[in-house]
Amino acid sequence: MISLRTLSIPKKIVVIAMIISASALLVASGAVLGYDYIVARENLRSNTMTLARIVADNTSAAVAFNDKAAAVDTLNALHAEPSIVLGCIYMGDALFAQHVSGRDVQMCSPRLSSDPSDGDLVWTAAPIEVKGKQIGTVELGATLGPTYGRLRFEIAIIAVILLMSALFALALSARLHKFVSEPILRLARTADEVSRHQDYSIRAAKQGEGELATLANSFNDMLAQIQLRTAALAKANQELQNANKMKDEFLATLSHELRTPLTSIFGWVNLMRQGRLDEEKTAKAVDVIDRNVRAQIQLVDDLLNVSQIITGKLKIHTCWTNAGTIVRAALDSIQPAAAAKNIEIAVNLPDSEERVFADPERIQQVLWNLLTNAVKFSEKGGRVCLEAGRVGTAFRISVSDSGEGIDPEFMPFLFERFTQADASKTRKHGGLGLGLAIVRHIVESHGGTVTAQSKGKGQGATFTIHLPIPANTA
């Protein structure tokens, strides 16, 4: 048996429409047939009763005068009524006259009317009376045969109507089902297309009003959300991949940067151990070793700082302090490196007594980082300029150089961790790419800002720091 559940929606609708129309028709025609049968039976009974009374009246004299021929004559008039198959006249319980028509072998005697509705026969009885005295009884048996014949004909007609209405319902619902099924099918096709092509930009067509329109709209909304999420996920994934790549690059850089000073130290230590160095060369060796050790310390410090920044453990201990002191301390620490490259550092510090509310060590670290970068990226004999002074409610420090400048494409990633403009292994400049990230973190921890400007490659660069000065400054 075919289950309705497994059918497609259009077929379901067609089948349901046909079932409904057929069952409605069946119920209606069943009721009509039943009513027809009851009415026909009742009509037959009352007609037969009337006939029985007429026969009783017309045969009273015949019965009284014992004239069977006359009684049979009267009974034979019942031929005119085909439904009457049996007419019997009794005197007391004895049969007086009878009339039999049709093929029925049924006879009048003995009296059969004990059961007034014997199968297909409807029995009625009427007394034969003369002057108020009953002298006999007329019993008529009427067959429901013609009624059954008519009912059979009606059933045949109903079957034909049923067939036609089924065909009509089929034709009608085959067209009308589209109102319901078409939007659902369209939606299903859209959903299928979306899942097959993984294309979340496809949208279901808008369709009218009602639940199906709501369904389509909700479907579209969900698609839109999926599209947004997918895009966001793709972006996040890309970022993760970039971060991973950056970390790999950083590891390579880190090992390289850590190895480089050790090579130098190791070489000079070997030479010193051989004891063939004169005094001047020994002093240079110690210098080189010292510088490389410091560089390595700086590297490890930067790493520690970044680690602290990531875990949120980098603490800022602010206090009122002299800005000039910080600037000079930073300048002092960079001087040897600048001198080594014959770079002049110009300082413009109008009021060296200006005070800032900051962590002096960290700000000094910031300045040192900026100055180290400026020296690192400047040509030999270049010029670095440091300006510091109060601007409004902020203390501004800017460090400019005449170096190789910043590629505008790199500008957005300048302050990110582990990023360097030139990340290749054959690059000119060392470093881990942590300095500016640390600078930004420290400055922003102070509530300040750090910006970078460069007119492009070879045009030099300027880094500017603004540190807010609290209102209760003296």
Partner: protein
């Protein structure tokens, strides 16, 4: 399956019915004598003929059947014994001689009284008296109903005109059983 057993049961009942019917018909019925039949007919005529109200002196006056001559051998008395017609008791009154038929609703003239027929009918005149006789010229003599014995079977002739003259209403049912005769020669009845 059920209908088949039901059908065979019905057939069996039919056969039983047929056998019973044959056995009932086989019972010999007591043969009625001609007198008894005629007496019963007389009583039946009373049932299928209407007499005008004024033919009875009172509402409980008896219905009188007068019999001229010897007839029925007491059968008529036996039949009407205890019977009533429209709440009137039935009475049989002999008319041995003479023509005094007043108070008779039915006047039966036995074949033995053939010679008295014209006088008796004349005596009945246009009064509401149903005259019944058996003589060959009874209808022509102005009688209303005449018994005829045809091969042992009793039937009767009715002259509706005579009944009409006597203001009697004969039921059409009775007329249907009877041989209706209208004599060409008018009976010698004073009009």
């Amino acid at each position: 399956m059920k209908s088949r057993t039901l059908g065979s049961a019905v057939v069996t009942i039919y056969w039983i019915g047929l056998i019973l019917a044959c056995s009932v018909w086989a019972v010999p019925q007591a043969a009625s004598t001609e007198d008894e039949v005629k007496a019963a007919f007389l009583f039946n005529f009373a049932k299928f003929v209407d007499w005008p109200m004024q033919s009875f002196p009172g509402s409980d006056s008896p219905f009188t059947i007068c019999v001229a001559g010897n007839a029925f051998d007491g059968a008529l008395e036996r039949i009407v014994q205890g019977e009533t017609l429209d709440r009137r008791p039935l009475v049989v009154r002999p008319v041995p001689t003479g023509t005094d038929v007043r108070g008779c609703q039915i006047l039966y003239i036995a074949p033995s009284e053939a010679r008295r027929v014209p006088d008796l009918i004349t005596a009945a005149g246009n009064n509401p008296v149903l005259t019944v006789g058996e003589t060959g010229d009874f209808i022509e003599d102005g009688g209303t109903i005449r018994f005829v014995n045809a091969g042992g079977r009793i039937h009767f002739q009715i002259n509706p005109d005579a009944a009409e003259r006597a203001s009697l209403k004969v039921s059409s049912r009775l007329l249907r059983l009877a041989e209706v005769v209208r004599p060409r020669r008018r009976a010698g009845v004073a009009r």
